[in-house]
Amino acid sequence: MINKELVAASSRALVLSILRDGESYGYEIIQRVKSLSNNQLNWTDGMLYPVLHRLENDGLIKSEWRTSTNGRRRKYYSLQAPGHRQLQEEQRQWLAVHDALTNIWRPHSR
């Protein structure tokens, strides 16, 4: 299980990345996060929505209410151009952290 702070910190990058693969809605995004992380990243489902709304307020994603083929009303989110740029930046930063940790954890550097 991953701690709360890391879950919160990675939420933006995760949401943006999932939406890069195509539009999606809250419930599906949660499912994707769970399966992508092998249930390591456990979000309180409701907490996703304030994150989505913030991203939308920042103009990174856009939302639209639609009725799905099985008759369910859902609010679909899609990535916007500023979102793509933001995602590249998030990616750069996460990889920098990842690289730093990987470098220090290499067997020969001990």
């Binding site: 809250g26 419930y27 489902d45 409701g46 907490m47 929505y49 369910r72």
Partner: protein, 277 residues
Amino acid sequence: MFHLEEAVNQWRRTLLRSGHLTPEAADELECHLRECISELSSHMLTEEEAFLVSGFRLGDPNILANEFRKNRKPGKNMLPAASPGPELAQQPHEPAALSRRFTASMFDVCILVLLEMLAIGLANSLQPAWAVLGVVSLKLLLAAYLIGMTCRYGGTLGKQLTGIRICSLDGSAITLSQGFLRSTPFLVLTLFQLVFYTQYIAGVFVVGTSQSYLWFWLLVLAGGSGWLLLSVVMLIKSQSGQAIHDATAGTLVVEASDFPSESATGRLHSSDAPLLA
């Protein structure tokens, strides 16, 4: 017996009660809840179990609402947190339109002037003892009307008719002490008037002279104009729409349409109109 629709509605109400979620956000969360329930229901869970688990997954409504609160930016329905205090950020009501406040004040002033003329008439026409009794009870009744209406119904007749209400900063009904504090200018004026009228009727001026009351009224006029001017400036400048007496009493004047449950005009006609007659 468990009723899913009832339980979902109850859950939704809890979310909305916080005042931090828009109905649209609640819709979205409700969709999520329903999706979760229907998926769990297909896994051998009863509706009730599915509801409980789904609710747990979505998170505690109060914590969720708090998370949404952080998202809120000053907008149409919200007042900026900057002025005059952080508690205003939660204020869910729309400040009353200035035109309505003005109309309400004019209406109330007309009533006051009529009653003032009645008081002068009483003072001049009745036996001194009866005149004193008449004027004092008229003034006390007026003070009771003003404070009573303000605390009980959120405003005098003028406000009721123009559809605006006085409430505390957090949107709750105002307390008695707030009612008194807000009416201070009126109460001070009433006190001076009572002293003047009783002496005038008795024909003996213990405090001041009939001449000094001319100065008193000029002072009231000057003070009143200054107060009015400052209030108007405050009303226009501050986004919360607080005049001096609102700021001192910690009250707001808001649109009554934000209080759908309280049809105050209906209640007013039945029980409070006699106060004015």
